[in-house]
Symmetry: C2
């Protein structure tokens, strides 16, 4: 049965998928049809399409983070945990229907940085940078703040490349992130002297 979740959940789900797949310029009609919700319901659940964009992005942010964040099988050193993010990204990029980081894509499409959706995107990108930074602090990096921003850059660069190339990256993002960590003196445990 289509009607298992509430109309609100169905709308947020459909919005997350269609905005990502087709862009935020997809019509409200198509969105509601996909969600099995009437426009009337949509407009009494959300003030406007812009609000739906922002809320959809916000509701899918945590799950997006969970996909990227390292699990217990990814090792316990900060370096391993950071590189696990890039390995997961690379794996996601290999999936055919990957269209780049949804936050970056949405911000690019919206153009206006004050759009509520852009604000949400900025927030979640900061969360990724914060994750990198806390791991880098744990690794004893010299300038964790700068390095965290650089790693976020690598992440978004890999995502952008996947979009324009429309094919797998073959792990270039992972090796690039590893290079950055190498240059910062955060070495691989088995090959060189470990940090501790």
């Amino acid at each position: 049965m289509t009607t298992q979740a509430t109309p609100r959940e169905r709308l947020l789900d459909a919005a997350g998928e269609l905005f990502y797949r087709d862009g935020v310029h997809i019509g409200v009609d198509a969105l509601c049809k996909a969600a099995g919700v009437s426009k009337k319901s949509m407009y009494q659940l959300f003030r406007s399409k812009d609000e739906l964009i922002a809320e959809s992005l916000a509701s899918h942010g945590p799950s997006y983070q969970r996909v990227l964040e390292p699990g217990p099988e990814d090792g316990n050193t900060p370096r391993e945990r950071i590189l696990a993010v890039f390995e997961r990204q690379d794996a996601a990029l290999t999936d055919g229907d990957f269209r780049g980081c949804p936050f970056v894509s949405t911000a690019v499409e919206l153009k206006n940085p004050e759009h509520p959706g852009s604000v949400v995107a900025r927030h979640f990108k900061q969360r990724l940078t914060d994750f990198f930074e806390s791991e880098l602090v744990a690794a004893g990096a010299e300038d964790p703040q700068l390095l965290a921003v650089q790693l976020t850059m690598v992440f978004d660069g890999a995502s952008a490349r996947a979009v324009v190339r429309a094919q797998s990256l073959g792990g270039v993002g992972v090796t690039l992130a590893a290079s950055v960590l190498d240059a910062a003196g955060i070495k691989a445990p088995a090959l060189a002297g470990q940090t501790r």
Copy 2:
């Protein structure tokens, strides 16, 4: 006087600016109005809006490249010439109305990688990678192909970050590119042993 260039040139100019500023979803009416060209003329100069998108991107690509490419004042070693690209990008990002690399932005907005505009974008991104690679070959890098892709990633990552942050990067892209070159053994001339 508005009418100095041909209608075709005026259209390509206006398209380059408006597609970049407002996105490719801007209407043909607004475009023609900005260019001072009638829709009839537009549609006998270009088969469709999609073709105009692609041709506009293609016509502005060379000038975009010229802005990035290093001049004689940027030094002559490959390392200097590569880093000059990132310094120029950083300078462009400081300009208020920068909205990311136009090729990446267009590819993200179009979604469809087979769209003529996406093909043009892919082409010009490859040109940047090729520039990096030729410089890296000159520098005697071990794996110039991989490094060139990595540098392109850094470039696009810096661009993406400028979009979501909507503010200057403070040279993080330059330092990241320098780190990548450092890690590849392409050292700064004065500080460490040079490659030759």
